[in-house]
């Protein structure tokens, strides 16, 4: 591909007799300063041969330029006389540079002086030197004949001669030259017009301008991945609401009403009371609380509203529907707990809760299910620790092995106590677990500050490498 100026140079050379020209000649079409670099570009592309030469550079002096404008004095004198003789004194008054004109006109045999009169020998005249001056001024090439006058012109102070480096360009290959365009258009394609054009090259190595890319949120993607794991293990998704009654968040889960976890600073309270519609469930829950925890159960406390502090509330909601068939369900959602906000603590985060109700379910099956869930999420090595939760027995904490961190506590689980399932009319064994997802996501996504999972900096989100 050739630029506009390169094409100009090639066109110029094409018209020359032996397809050669000096860089000085090209200055008539392109600034001479540009010629040098273009010449070598063309050489590289294989279109021209370039030879460097030392060359006389002929330039007009200031006087030379004046003479070019006004004519040589001797020529002017001859043309002034128009073939008639005139007295010397008479002409000298009217004619500028008379002495110079007289001297050169006599030397060249254009006039003679006789008895005080100038006698012209020609009626009009232009010196060959003048046409040389003209050629020099327009940088035209000088013939051998022309060159004979250079010495004389230099001695008259009309020109200067300097040694100079010039390039001799010789066209060695003619390019297929077509006009260039930037954009293809449907019209050009439709009638094959495009063949007449050259498509301009781009600076393909330049960095591109910014565009907004559509991109999923990396933490949400992690949560969706965990949902897929649960579905692949045969679990059906369920959900419940953020605003919950203490009944589902605590009472149904056999958490005594005077338990410290139910104090004012351990969950977010919401004004108002809910309605406990399933009277038989309520009275059975009351009964087991009073029998085993030995205190007076208060329905008003159970009706108090909180932002759910555990997704186990969703599990309690599922149980409250008294499922009569075997089920396997899970939920992933936000829970809320008052805490100081820092790099490792937030007041809202995500949990995964699961529930299996099955005639043949047992603790061993539960451990095997937990192992399968963690394996699906990507934690192959787990160990189990006995634990305590008010609503499960036996209870277990699951520890997962994370490269570089060692054993990390991941989930709490257990078989639901009959005190939890039986008031809801569920006689089959049931296993349940809860798993914090934010910490796990931090480990998997290499996040040091939990707040980054909910970053409000769009550039952080834009720049984060996608996990796949």
């Amino acid at each position: 591909m050739l630029s506009e100026n390169e094409i100009k140079i090639i066109d110029f050379l094409k018209k020359k007799e032996n397809k050669s020209a000096y860089s000085t000649e090209l200055s008539s079409i392109i600034p001479e300063t540009a010629v040098f670099s273009l010449a070598y570009l063309l050489k590289e592309k294989g279109y021209v041969d370039v030879r460097e030469e030392e060359k006389d550079l002929v330039m007009l002096t200031k006087e030379g330029e004046e003479r070019l404008k006004e004519g040589l004095p001797e020529d002017n004198l001859v043309n002034f006389l128009k073939g008639e003789s005139k007295k010397v004194q008479e002409i000298a008054k009217l004619f500028k540079d008379f002495n110079i004109a007289l001297s050169w006109a006599r030397k060249k045999g254009l006039i003679k002086v006789d008895k005080g009169e100038v006698v012209p020998l020609k009626s009009s005249y232009t010196s060959p030197e003048y046409s040389v001056l003209k050629k020099v001024s327009s940088s035209q090439e000088l013939s051998e004949e022309d060159r004979k006058y250079l010495k004389e012109l230099e001695s008259r102070g009309l020109i200067e001669i300097k040694k100079n480096k010039v390039l001799l360009l010789t066209l060695i290959r003619e390019p297929q030259i077509r006009p260039s365009i930037t954009y293809l258009t449907p019209e050009l394609l439709r009638n094959k017009e495009w063949t007449k054009y050259e498509l301009k090259e781009y600076n393909v190595e330049a960095l591109p301008p910014f565009i907004t890319l559509g991109k999923k949120h990396y933490f949400r993607e992690f949560l969706e991945h965990v949902k897929d794991v649960m579905v692949s293990l045969g679990f059906k998704e369920v959900k419940s609401d953020f605003v919950e009654m203490e009944f589902y968040n605590f009472d149904m889960l056999f958490q005594a009403q005077d338990h410290p976890a139910r104090e004012i600073h351990d969950s977010f309270k919401v004004n108002g009371k809910g309605e406990l519609l399933n009277k038989s469930l309520v009275s059975k829950v009351k009964e087991v609380h009073e029998k085993l925890w030995k205190y007076e159960w208060n329905e008003e406390i159970a009706k108090s509203l909180v932002l759910r502090s555990q997704t186990t509330a969703t599990t309690a909601r599922v149980l409250s529907t008294s499922p009569s068939k075997e089920i396997k369900v899970f939920t992933i959602g936000k829970v809320f707990r008052p805490d100081a906000i820092d790099a490792t603590h937030l007041i809202e985060f995500h949990q995964l809760d699961g529930l299996v109700i099955d005639e043949s379910f047992n603790f061993r099956e539960l451990l095997s299910t937990l192992k399968a869930i963690f394996s699906g999420i990507g934690i192959k090595e787990v160990k189990f620790k006995p634990a305590y939760f008010p609503f499960t027995e036996p209870s277990v904490e699951v520890y997962g092995y994370i490269q570089g961190l060692g054993w990390v506590e991941m989930a709490g689980a257990g078989l639901l106590r009959p005190e939890v399932t039986e008031p809801a009319g569920v006689k089959m064994p049931a296993g349940a677990w809860g798993l914090g997802l934010d910490r796990l996501a931090m480990l998997f996504l290499g996040i040091k500050d939990i707040r980054d999972l909910y970053s409000d900096d769009i550039e952080y989100l834009r720049n984060r490498k996608v996990v796949y």
Binding site: G214, L233, L292, R417, I458
Partner: protein
């Protein structure tokens, strides 16, 4: 979870264990150990195992699980001629007491005892509301009769660690404990009190002991009082305390009590009958009756085998054993969680996502296709940024998050405000739940899943966003939505509309008004759309 701090060297020699075995053994007893200082261990005890809150209790449990000692640890109880007279104390009706002979105290041991007492206060004591404990130097008590009574607030005594006499009122207003716990027990102008026969104060539960019976390294014998609002909790607490002192080599002294029971401590034994089959079935193991019995005895309980039935005798220190499932857990622990041979997981049925989750995913994919960056913000927000009907939290941690969002628009604007200097245009979207009022719900509130898209740029147009949401909705429903002009106070007048599909309002779109932009400190125009995904679902 409760953490206690113990001297490492002292604990290891008591348990007869090496440092490296301690972690492992305690892990299998629900506890975790962390090295603290030079010779200090922090041990996490689960809140059901209150018997393990002192080194002697840990020793008893460890000896069982290691098989060194099986069955109930039985302690000598000697009768004494001490008696406790219990009068009417309405705010805190129950009190019991016990004597401990032959304690060997030093500064470390006193620290352990105080820690044990404090941890019981926090757990079974429900921060002293349900149960409070007073531990006294028995030999500093004059006489053999101790009274539980109430005293007027001007009654004077010298509180613990003080040298001047104070009235109960002074204690309430000027001591740390008075301020923390005074509200629990003061009933009108009376405070509960443990008194000597002559009326000298030994303690004002649940606030503070008297300085008179203060423990010292030279103390040989103890009197323990436990008071509270539940007789069973009071009895259990006292049982755990005396059992652990006895495990440490002291003798329990029983006293006469004038009310509810004849003598104290009660040292209650529960008996429950479990079936080998039930235990095996619950655990998924096939265990013989002898094996089950052995595992129960490893957990320091006694058993009587009766065919396939096992009678479990629950010692006084195991107050967490309520029904057969609690026994099942103990069997599993003694068997060892790591010994369970896990079957390969199999799934009977197919799993499935909720329809709304599938819709969320489809919506997110389409928004991504539209070139929007997904964001994920908090559900909690600042109430001054919200408008309309929203849930306000009654006990917020910070004003920044004192309410629950009722629209994604506010969260989006808050996000955009933080990104005024990002590379423009900012094209963002979020899919998530908000909470709205709903009279049909039993709580009066309901989650509502929504989606929100926004464009912020030096110049935005309604059409630029409308064209995207139009295509998204068309692709979700196979039907073109239509737009009905509707003014909202947060949109520029004449530049907002509600979005309808089949005459059902599924969202709103508009250019945010300059007043709202100013309120959120946004210096660039914003156009926003919110879609009610649940209305699109199904």
């Amino acid at each position: 979870m409760v953490n206690i701090v113990l001297k490492e060297s002292r604990l290891l020699s008591l348990l007869g264990l090496e440092d490296k075995d301690l972690n492992d053994v305690l892990f299998n007893l629900k506890s975790e150990v962390e090295k603290k200082g030079e010779d200090e261990l922090e041990i996490e005890i689960n809140s059901d195992r209150l018997d393990m809150l002192s080194p002697e209790g840990i020793k008893r449990a460890v000896e069982g699980i290691l098989g060194r000692k099986l069955g109930e640890a039985k302690y000598e109880v000697t009768p004494t001629d001490y008696q406790m007279i219990i009068e009417d104390v309405e705010s805190r009706p129950y009190a019991l007491g016990a004597i401990i002979y032959d304690v060997k105290l030093d500064d470390d041991r006193i620290k352990e005892i105080i820690q044990f007492q404090e941890k019981l206060h926090c757990t079974i004591g429900r921060r002293r509301k349900k149960v409070a404990i007073g531990i006294h130097d028995l030999d500093k008590i004059d006489g053999k009769t101790i009274k539980y009574s109430k005293i007027p607030l001007d009654y004077k005594f010298i509180p613990l660690n003080s040298d001047k006499e104070m009235s109960v009122s002074d204690v309430l207003s000027s001591t740390e404990q008075g301020k923390l716990y005074g509200y629990i027990s003061i009933n009108g102008s009376y405070s509960p009190a443990i008194l000597q026969e002559d009326g000298q104060v030994l303690s004002i539960p649940p606030i503070i002991n008297s300085n008179k019976t203060r423990l010292e390294a030279s103390t040989k014998n103890l009197f323990i009082d436990v008071t509270g609002t539940s007789l069973s909790a009071v009895a259990q607490t006292l049982d755990i305390l005396v059992s652990n002192f006895a495990e440490g080599g002291s003798k329990i002294g029983a006293i006469k009590v004038s009310r509810y029971v004849d003598k104290s401590p009660l040292l209650i034994h529960d008996r429950l009958s479990v079936k080998t089959e039930d235990i095996s079935k619950r655990l998924g193991l096939s265990l013989s009756t002898e094996e089950v019995s052995k595992y129960i005895r490893m957990m320091r309980m006694d058993t009587n085998i009766n065919g396939d039935d096992i009678e479990v005798i629950v010692p006084p220190y195991r107050i967490d054993i309520m029904t057969f499932v609690d026994v099942a857990e103990d069997v599993a622990m003694a068997y060892g969680y790591r010994s369970f041979n896990l079957p390969k997981y199999t799934s009977k049925g197919m799993g499935e996502l909720l329809p709304i989750t599938k819709l969320e995913r489809a919506f997110r994919d389409l928004a991504i296709g539209g070139g929007f960056q997904e964001i994920f913000t908090f559900v909690l927000n600042k109430s001054s940024l919200l408008s309309g009907n929203y849930v306000k939290i009654e006990n917020p941690i910070t004003l920044e998050y004192d309410s629950v969002r009722n629209s994604l628009i506010w969260n989006m604007l808050k996000f955009l405000a933080k990104n005024q200097h990002a590379r423009f245009p900012v094209r963002t979207f979020e899919v998530g739940d908000v909470v709205i009022r709903n009279i049909e719900s039993d709580t009066g509130y309901k989650n509502d899943t929504r989606a929100c898209l926004a464009i912020m740029n030096s110049k935005v147009s309604y059409e630029e966003l409308q064209s995207v949401i139009h295509q998204i909705l068309y692709n979700l429903k196979g039907k073109e939505p239509n737009y009905v002009k509707e003014d909202k106070d947060y949109f520029i007048k004449g530049r907002s509309a509600k979005i309808l599909i089949n005459n059902n309002e599924v969202g709103e779109i508009g250019e945010i008004s300059p007043e709202i932009l100013e309120k959120f400190n946004i210096e660039n125009p914003v156009v926003i759309v919110e879609i009610y995904l649940e209305k699109l679902c199904g």
